[in-house]
Symmetry: C2
Subunit: 391 residues, 2 copies
């Protein structure tokens, strides 16, 4: 299973008698930011009259290729990236998608060649986002096929390829660059879903041929299913737009409108109050994620049972101060004696996503750091208890 | 090109000197209903607070398979179908999609077999909806492939197949049933986008294994990209849900919420005021479409140049009176001397969609009957002028 759904598991035998409530940290549902938006109240609500946003088309400006992109969303995307400094937006075509998931598939379609004799290989360096393989292969396309870990890929032997670079990387939080030595045969997709100041110090505006972002991770509005790609090449943008036209005749105007409104609010608040306000979303998000990571590291403490990656402090040009990466997921690793990290935690009714799903091994487990406060507190308590019981 | 986009054509030489404004009746953008929704004002506006609808998931009821379907949308869909009487909703699984376009592809995925040696054939009786072929083949799937006109399909020779039955049919407005003699090898998809009282007398609740509808045609809210399927078989509903999960991790919650609100309004208005009110959307829509068809038939008149299909009056159980079908498209046919209906109208800067795109010939042209009042009036005027000039 791929996306955000929950699986019900019964508690297996554990030291607590098996009556623990389920803590589901498998999906990355970003409910952590809900209290912020509740606090913002009426400022960020949207009102849509019944007679508005009824058309398939958007009143796009001349020269635009994405005919269903609302101009107010395009403006808001450009304004937000300029403010945050995380992506080059000049001379780019913007393509809106039903989340970054649809954009990933639009990119595969745009970068593959219908006339070629065999499917192009799609690779990403392990550990890679667990949904890439299934999203690539579920329709058994003759255009592209999943070919696994980019570290293992030999372009001399296996020919043309598309490499997906997810940076910061889901699941392990690392900053990434392409790894395949390409002999000029490779095309790149940059999935920058988590390159926002709450998760990662912004050290430069990303400047790639094809990169995409998602509203889900930017502000936590996953339910709106809005993503956007910044594309250098006009023909690639046209083909991505074509994919989305054939796949769903465009993207919800209601959600585009809401996204634009919320992005404009972020920018307006920043302009009016700057960083030194509890209303600054990214400053707030960064401090919240910092607290969570500190608490997690405390809970793991000097345990021999588990470890998580450590990160260096770097200067963030948006926040104007040094900060560490605080990834949206903890990439938990068990000690040498434990074969399967997921089984161990499942005994205590904590669900994560098995390392195998990411092209790694079962010693690893991905746990969401974006749950609600209550769930996160329960998780820390239970982690402490596991330590006491297992050590 | 498939969906709703517009192509710019320059005016070719014609009897009016080539300076006519473009009348684009190629896409089926349902702007005809906008004035109704404007008139309804605040009743049908939606308000979404910034902290709502943030999750990938929906709080679905136990036993439901579509984990991203908002319960309020499910309730509204059931209530609306019960009111209109156009589909059986008892003991059905409801799957929401990003428009019926995504549901069509979800259905192909659900009804095909990954393990089979070759793609299953997908057919529909010509003239068929012009987007089916490209929506079936653009990803060059090994699961399914477009195999053309269902009337020509021989299941004995060519084996298992999926037949898409679009009823009332786009482009020609006819009521349809499956046509392939199936020897038990066929699976059916019923695309019922236009089975609403403004377009077609409701003579019975549709009762098929897999049928879908779309908000675009039901009320004219095409920009929201909301469709829904009613599915008998649980496993098929699960596979369709899986497709939408892999394709876009669900469907915009904002649009689902708005759709639910507008459907509930339709039902509430009907409950309060009944049919004898100018506020009854379907009664209003039916009378509007009746006027448009009457005007079109007048404009074509006794012309030898063009003809459109004629339809019998039937009793509509929803409206409680006999009514004719008033399709969303006019399937215009030229006389014997004219080879290409589209070329003729393009000389007068009227754009339609060429009959060839529907598996028919160029004597036919599909023209939208759902344009705004202004555009429709211009179209009638120009049609009159063409008659005067060409005859």
């Amino acid at each position: 299973m791929c996306g955000a759904e929950t699986t019900n598991h019964s508690t297996e035998s554990n030291g607590f008698g098996g009556n623990l409530s389920l803590i589901d940290l498998d999906p990355g549902n970003p409910t952590v930011f809900e209290p912020y938006w509740r606090r913002m109240g009426d400022k960020c609500r949207v009102v849509i009259p019944g007679c508005e946003l009824m058309s398939y088309k958007a009143a796009t400006k001349p020269g635009k290729v994405c005919w269903f992109l609302l101009p107010e969303l395009e403006d808001a995307i450009v304004r937000l990236h300029r403010l945050v400094g995380n992506a080059v937006v000049d001379d780019r075509y913007i393509v809106v998608g039903t989340g970054s998931t649809q954009l990933y598939q639009a990119a595969l379609y745009a970068l593959s060649t219908p006339a070629s004799l065999k499917p192009i290989n799609v690779v990403s360096a392990a550990p890679y986002y667990s949904c890439y393989p299934e999203e690539t292969d579920y329709l058994c396309s003759r255009l592209y096929k999943w070919a696994g870990d980019a570290n293992e890929y030999n372009a001399n032997k296996s020919g043309p390829f598309i490499e997906v670079v997810n940076s910061p990387n889901n699941p392990n939080g690392s900053l990434r660059e392409s790894v395949v030595k390409d002999c000029g045969q490779g095309k790149l997709i940059h999935d920058l879903a988590y390159y926002w100041p709450q998760f990662m110090p912004i050290n430069r505006p990303a400047d790639h041929d094809l990169m995409y972002f998602t509203f889900s991770k930017c502000t936590g509005h996953a339910g709106s299913r809005i993503g956007w790609a910044l594309v250098k090449d006009r023909e690639v943008a046209i083909k991505m737009t074509k994919y989305i036209e054939l796949n769903s005749i465009g993207v919800s105007k209601d959600s585009q409108f809401r996204t634009a409104k919320i992005m404009e609010l972020l920018c307006n608040e920043h302009k009016e109050f700057g960083l030194n306000s509890s209303n600054n979303f990214f400053e707030y998000g960064n401090r919240l994620m910092a607290q969570r990571w500190e608490s997690l590291r405390e809970a793991i403490g000097s345990s021999d049972l588990f470890s998580v990656p450590s990160f260096e402090r770097q200067y963030c040009f948006f926040l104007g101060r040094p900060t560490k990466p605080y990834p949206a997921f903890a990439w938990l690793k068990c000690n040498e004696e434990t074969e399967d990290c997921g089984s161990l935690l499942r005994r205590y009714n904590i669900l994560g996503r098995n390392g195998k799903r990411f092209g790694a091994d079962a010693k690893y487990l991905r746990l969401s750091m974006l749950s609600s406060d209550d769930v996160f507190e329960d998780f820390l308590d239970r982690l402490n208890a596991i330590r006491l019981f297992e050590e």
